[in-house]
């Protein structure tokens, strides 16, 4: 029974003093989620100035975001200002700003902290961005499980509306803007931007073929910009301090700051704001290193869909371009750390079970391939693998790559290929001996299907 009373004790994320505090600057202050607290630290001054036409004009805002080099923090890293520039100039239809707060990528837990601990900075980011692209309605799409965050966002939006910062003719400026929260209902694929748009329209969240891109035909058939929660929150400090100063906060050639998450076998898992371009070694140090003094085995740098980073690659800067050179992806920049006790076959078998469950079923390679991979990997994990499975895994994974409507197919194939390539001996050993050297697993009883 759904009671709709969600209470969540927001666990204070680990925030050592040495981190930079730009988008996380209000976290930890008393009542940091309320309007008075946000106002106390100068919040909404920028919006008041901007909406009254005393600040940057819409095109100047877009140019500033472009000059700052802000890139999408939802996983793909597309330059934000460039995306905004794709909106058609001559389309008379209304434009929408849609925020992606689906946060479903396994290992990822950064956006929820923004919403729990400083919803108003995020809202101010939505306001400035809506103004920049001339949108008068903004939808924040939150995953269904986030009832606490839905309530927190709605309360913050109500506060802002009551203060005259949202609504019709804001502060006498003639500019209208409203923000609505839309709650999903449990489907990872609704994090994919066109699946999200379908879901927002009240349909199954099945991704659309692109083009047309959402900037041209998005929600309700209108030009739409989809951005991640963190992406839009960074807009506030960028406009506040100007592109150049914000850029200078970064390291190793990357601009600004970044919320990095870290989980798994570390001493202090949490969300850390660091200069963008900090290295994996630095992030691991902030997280107190590998737990129980164990040896590091591998790291998934940015959510489950990324290929592995190995211990000899710890000095890789965690930004989109550097990490690509290291053969993997930044993704959501939430790292998953695995120590020497981790069985890589088990890890990837668990992940494939996830992708098989979440495949929306539109494309044959993804629908069939993820299930096939999950079956083979589970078989191998249980010591029932066959010799030919080893060849098939590679083949099936490679046949998914690039042959699907959305990137979920690739997201399943890439880690499979990577774990298999980098730890092939573990797969072979499972098949040969029918055993796992990492010991007997406490195998969770298999899920029985609920309902029809």
């Amino acid at each position: 029974m759904v009671t709709e009373t969600a209470t969540v004790p927001a666990p204070a994320p680990a925030l050592p003093v040495k981190t930079v505090r730009v988008v996380s600057r209000n976290w930890g202050k008393p009542n940091s989620h309320t309007l008075p607290s946000y106002r106390d630290s100068g919040g909404y001054k920028l919006w008041e100035k901007t909406v009254k036409g005393q600040g940057l004009k819409p095109q100047e805002l877009i140019d500033t975001v472009k000059a700052a080099g802000l890139r999408g923090m939802g996983g793909a890293g597309f330059p934000t200002g460039v995306k905004w520039g794709f909106l058609p100039k001559d389309n008379p239809k209304p434009r929408y700003l849609v925020v992606n707060g689906d946060e479903g990528e396994p290992g990822t837990f950064k956006d929820r902290y923004i919403m729990e601990l400083d919803p108003h900075m995020f809202i101010e980011g939505c306001m400035l961005s809506s103004y920049a692209i001339n949108a008068h309605v903004c939808y924040i799409y939150l995953r269904g499980e986030f009832l606490f965050q839905v309530k927190r966002m709605e309360a913050a939006i109500d506060e802002a509306r009551a203060a005259g910062l949202l609504g019709k003719n804001i502060l006498g400026s003639g500019f209208d803007l409203d923000i609505h929260v839309h709650r999903g209902a449990g489907a990872y694929i609704c994090g994919e931007e066109t699946g999200l748009i379908e879901s927002l329209e009240g349909k199954k969240g099945q991704p659309r073929l692109k083009p047309p891109f959402p900037a041209v035909v998005g929600v309700f058939g209108c030009p739409t910009i989809v951005n991640n929660v963190e992406t839009l929150t960074h807009v506030v400090p960028i406009v506040e301090m100007g592109a150049e100063k914000w850029k200078a906060l970064g390291k190793n050639g990357a601009p600004g700051t970044k919320l990095y998450g870290i989980s798994g076998h570390v001493n202090k898992p949490g969300v850390y704001e660091l200069p963008f371009g900090s290295t994996m070694r630095e992030l691991l140090e902030f997280a107190g290193g590998v737990r129980d003094g164990k040896k590091l085995k591998a790291i998934v740098p940015g959510g489950a869909s990324c290929p592995l980073l190995l211990p000899d690659q710890l000095d890789t800067p965690l930004d989109f371009d550097s990490i690509k050179k290291a053969g993997t992806m930044l993704g959501t920049a939430c790292a998953i750390v695995m120590d020497e006790s981790t069985c890589m076959v088990r890890a990837i078998a668990r992940l494939l079970k996830f992708y098989a469950h979440e495949s929306c079923g539109q494309c044959t390679p993804c629908r069939e391939g993820t299930h096939w991979l999950a079956k083979m990997l589970t078989r191998i994990e249980h010591g029932e693998g066959r010799e030919q499975d080893l060849t098939l895994i590679d083949e099936v994974a490679n046949n998914i790559m690039g042959n699907t409507i959305c990137a979920l197919g690739d997201a399943a194939a890439m880690p499979t290929i990577s774990y298999f390539k980098k730890f092939r001996h573990e797969f072979e050993e499972h098949v040969k001996t029918g055993k796992c050297r990492f010991g007997e697993h406490e195998v969770a009883p298999r899920q029985v299907t609920i309902g029809p």
Binding site: E4, A6, F109, E145, G202, H265, V443, A444, I450
Partner: protein
């Protein structure tokens, strides 16, 4: 409420006045009524306990949209319970970060202590156990969601205490 009691009658279901208001409020947010399907289904789930075909029909009538549209959505998303679940829907994350920090042990332990496998409901109708995907609590796992509430940093003992302390 026992499972038998919560099963819907064959006849039509009616929304309360409060529920109708709530749905109106949702409809007003969108240029198209169909977009209110997801929020309206949540209202139905709360009002009727679970989303039966009768509840789907009520949502369709209230939104004035075809019933097939509502059915398609209600059956596609996992958070709409198509059959009655226990008083407490215990949803344990089994995904990667929680897996690394002891989710299997937790699922195993709870399953044993409650005498039900994931997917099953206890005889007294108090608990339904389920293994779910990442809950975005990866830095504070292993995690579970009980109805609408998150619980983090769990051990078997801690989780059992939380469940037994519930009213």
């Amino acid at each position: 409420m026992s499972l038998a009691q919560s099963e819907h009658p064959k006849g039509p279901l009616e929304f309360s006045a409060k529920a109708k208001d709530e749905i109106k409020h949702h409809v007003a947010k969108y240029p198209d009524r169909r977009a209110a399907t997801l929020p309206a289904l949540y209202v139905a789930q709360r009002e009727f306990g679970y989303v039966s075909p009768a509840a789907m029909a009520t949502v369709a009538r209230e939104l004035d949209i075809p019933e097939t549209w509502v059915r398609e959505v209600a059956t596609w998303y996992t958070m709409y319970n198509k059959v009655p679940v226990g008083k407490y829907h215990v949803q344990l994350c089994g995904n990667i970060s929680c897996h690394l920090t002891g989710a299997d042990k937790l699922i195993h332990g709870l399953s044993q202590a409650l005498g039900i496998k994931p997917g099953e409901t206890s005889k007294d109708g108090r608990y339904t156990l389920a293994e779910v995907e990442c809950l975005a609590s990866c830095g504070s796992g292993p995690a579970m969601q009980v109805n609408d509430d998150y619980h983090e940093h769990l051990t078997v003992e801690k989780a059992l205490k939380i469940l037994r302390d519930l009213p």
